[in-house]
């Protein structure tokens, strides 16, 4: 067996999953979460989230009945919290796509432990995001006017409008993410189907696994489909938030009309998304005992990405000021001085401290590997990133015309919808944790050393 001796002496690959688990160990550990008894904490959290989420029904009903005047909107702040929340949630989604698509294209095999729930996070975040522009259109019953549908008025949507670009970009983003997530789920749903003890489960998971048989004649099309989906999702990571930023950047408004917006928004999106991945990963691995799959190495790498993107965001903040000064445009200069020292200075400095100062702790290896520190940091970054969008949108309150300057105060409905969207997000996420495999089993098995056909075949598995 000289051939085998030769191949086993290849350089040892990085151990991604510690503890040398067998294929069955992986199956069992992940499936047991779906099959086992629901933890009590899950019921508590689910009840709270579901109540908050269902309050959305009443809030949105009242909004449609009464109109968007129930928010604290004024002119010039015509967008208010709805667009703050929209940009916040779309941004969260980007980390999931980056993990699932870009890290896949770059052959970062460590992603397999975290990609499933990061993708789930993407989809739920984009659902929350889509809610806000949908209810903000005012006359929601004619929302289909955004789609190019021939109609009796002989009108077409304005394809030059950034708001329409947004509709297409985010709609495509949601669809492509959903496809990617579902295709990834098929083999794992088949695993749950084959292990199902009850008839009901067998039928439920049987339908959604589409009759998957794991033959290589299926895998070869499957793998290419997965690669293509990763390939087409990769530009989406960069394009979607760039297009979102053009909602602002193409307007001729001081503080918004800047070319730095697209890259600045994308960096911010990845930054906030990774913070959310971190928050969810820390909780999920603790509650479900997944420390061996989502290892400290994964968390450390997430923290490094947060550090890098946090620095980019910090650079963008300072560059905005520099360009405002360098442009010599007094309106632009006023907009930025007003941001930092005007009536919303409190929000600006919350933003700067959370987004620029907090990630600096990750320079230290000790804190990159410290659960409590990174958990607190991830929460603060999420707060900071919400305030970043708040600062961008709400400081518009002081535009060219001093006569229309006003202080934007949210009403109970502004706050209620933001809280409601968190309820919706966590309801969906908890349902996902309960009923779907939260770690991509087939992909994790594929990165175990014994999955390599050159492994020699002597290993257990």
């Amino acid at each position: 067996m000289s051939r085998e001796a030769k191949v086993t002496s290849q350089p040892v690959h990085e151990v991604l999953i510690p503890g040398d688990p067998s294929f069955h160990d992986i199956t069992h550990q992940v499936s047991a979460i779906v099959e086992g008894k629901t933890p009590k904490a899950w019921y508590v959290l689910f009840t709270i989230s579901a109540i908050v989420a269902s309050s959305l029904v009443f809030q949105i009903g009242y909004l449609i009945w009464e109109g968007i005047g129930i928010w604290g909107l004024n002119i010039p702040v015509a967008w208010g919290w709805a667009i703050v929340n929209f940009v916040f949630w779309v941004g969260i989604g980007h980390a999931g796509t980056l993990i699932s698509a870009i890290l896949f294209m770059l052959r970062q095999r460590w992603r397999t432990s975290i990609n499933r729930f990061a993708e789930a996070m993407t989809i739920f975040a984009v659902i929350c995001a889509l809610l806000f522009p949908a209810i903000h259109v005012g006359r929601i019953w004619v929302v289909y006017w955004m789609a190019p549908v021939p109609n009796q008025m002989a009108m077409w949507p304005n394809f030059r409008s950034p708001l329409l670009w947004d509709f297409f970009a985010v709609g495509t983003y949601f669809t492509a993410s959903l496809m990617f997530w579902y295709v990834g789920l098929i083999p794992d749903l088949a695993t749950i189907r084959d292990r199902a003890a009850s008839k009901l489960k067998k039928i439920f998971y049987g339908i959604f696994s589409l009759g998957w048989r794991g033959g290589n004649r299926q895998w070869r099309h499957y793998e290419l489909a997965y690669l293509v989906l990763a390939g087409v999702s990769t530009p989406l990571v960069l394009s979607v938030h760039s297009i979102v930023s053009t909602d602002f950047a193409t307007s001729v408004v001081p503080g918004w009309h800047t070319t730095i917006f697209p890259p600045y928004f994308v960096a911010g999106a990845i930054f906030s998304g990774f913070a959310m991945v971190l928050t969810l990963a820390i909780i999920a691995r603790k509650v479900y005992g997944l420390e061996n799959l989502i290892t400290m190495k994964h968390l450390e790498r997430i923290n490094l990405i947060i550090l890098v993107t946090g620095m980019m965001v910090g650079y963008a903040y300072s560059m905005e000021f520099f360009i405002a000064w360098y442009s010599g445009n007094i309106y632009e200069q006023f907009a930025f001085v007003n941001r930092a020292f005007g009536p919303y200075a409190w929000a600006y400095w919350i933003m700067v401290s959370c987004n620029v100062l907090v990630p600096q702790v990750f320079w230290f290896k000790k804190y990159r590997r410290h659960i409590v520190v990174m958990f607190i940091a991830s929460i603060l970054i999420n707060v900071g990133m919400w305030f970043e969008r708040f600062v961008i949108v709400i400081t518009l309150a002081s535009d060219y015309l001093p006569s229309s300057w006003d202080y934007y105060s949210p009403t109970v409905w502004d706050v209620g919808l933001l809280i409601g969207s968190f309820g919706l997000f966590f309801t969906l996420f908890l349902l996902f944790l309960r009923f779907l495999p939260m770690v991509a089993m087939s992909e994790v098995k594929g990165v175990l050393p014994q999955a390599d056909p050159h492994h020699g075949g002597t290993h257990r598995g």
Binding site: H24, M179, I186, R213, N216, L229, E443
Partner: protein, 180 residues
């Protein structure tokens, strides 16, 4: 559930590991079998070559769909802004294609993603909720840690005794006949 009645669909044999499965695939193929498949819980690198399968045609389908989406959306933006509803906005050209890039790009991606997914469904003949392979109790391991070779009875070389002996000779265990 291996009932003795019912038409024979094929035969499966279990192998120990991905390395063994890939070796077996090459042997099954060189023995002259064509209607066979290798089942595993995850895709195995190099299995396509071992089984003598070419590249999946899915890429072409996606390419065609993506370019169709690109072409259609370019046409639609042109038609709506030049022919059907021309609007003069600050004297700008009707076909200001630079502004249409985001929309055209989005639809291109959308067509590619939908075709990748549903094209894969079509090529894999899924959803197919029932299949004779599911009659086999041990085949349930395939989504956990089982590695199987299956040979269909439709294959011209298939013969219950000889195929069984062959599968055992190349290291297959738990050889079982699958009935419909």
């Amino acid at each position: 559930m291996a009932e003795s009645d019912g038409k024979v669909y094929g035969m499966i044999a279990e192998f120990e590991s991905p390395a063994h499965l890939i070796e077996a695939a090459a042997k099954v193929r060189s023995e002259g079998y064509r209607k066979f498949d290798c089942h595993s819980p995850f895709p195995i690198h190099g299995m396509d070559q071992a089984m003598g399968l070419g590249r999946s045609p899915l890429g072409f389908l996606v390419g065609i769909a993506a370019f169709s989406g690109l072409g259609f959306m370019t046409w639609l933006t042109w038609y709506t802004s030049v022919v059907d509803y021309p609007l003069v906005i600050s004297g700008k050209p009707f076909f200001s294609y630079q502004a249409y890039v985001p929309v055209v790009f989005a639809i291109t991606i959308l067509c590619a993603a939908l075709t990748a997914t549903f094209g894969m469904f079509h090529l894999n003949r899924i959803p197919m909720l029932f299949h004779p392979m599911f009659n086999c109790e041990q085949f349930k391991k395939v989504t956990d840690d089982g590695f199987f070779v299956s040979i269909e009875a439709r294959d011209s070389k298939f013969d219950e005794q000889r195929t069984r002996a062959f599968l055992e000779s190349i290291g297959g265990t738990n050889v079982e006949v699958i009935r419909e």
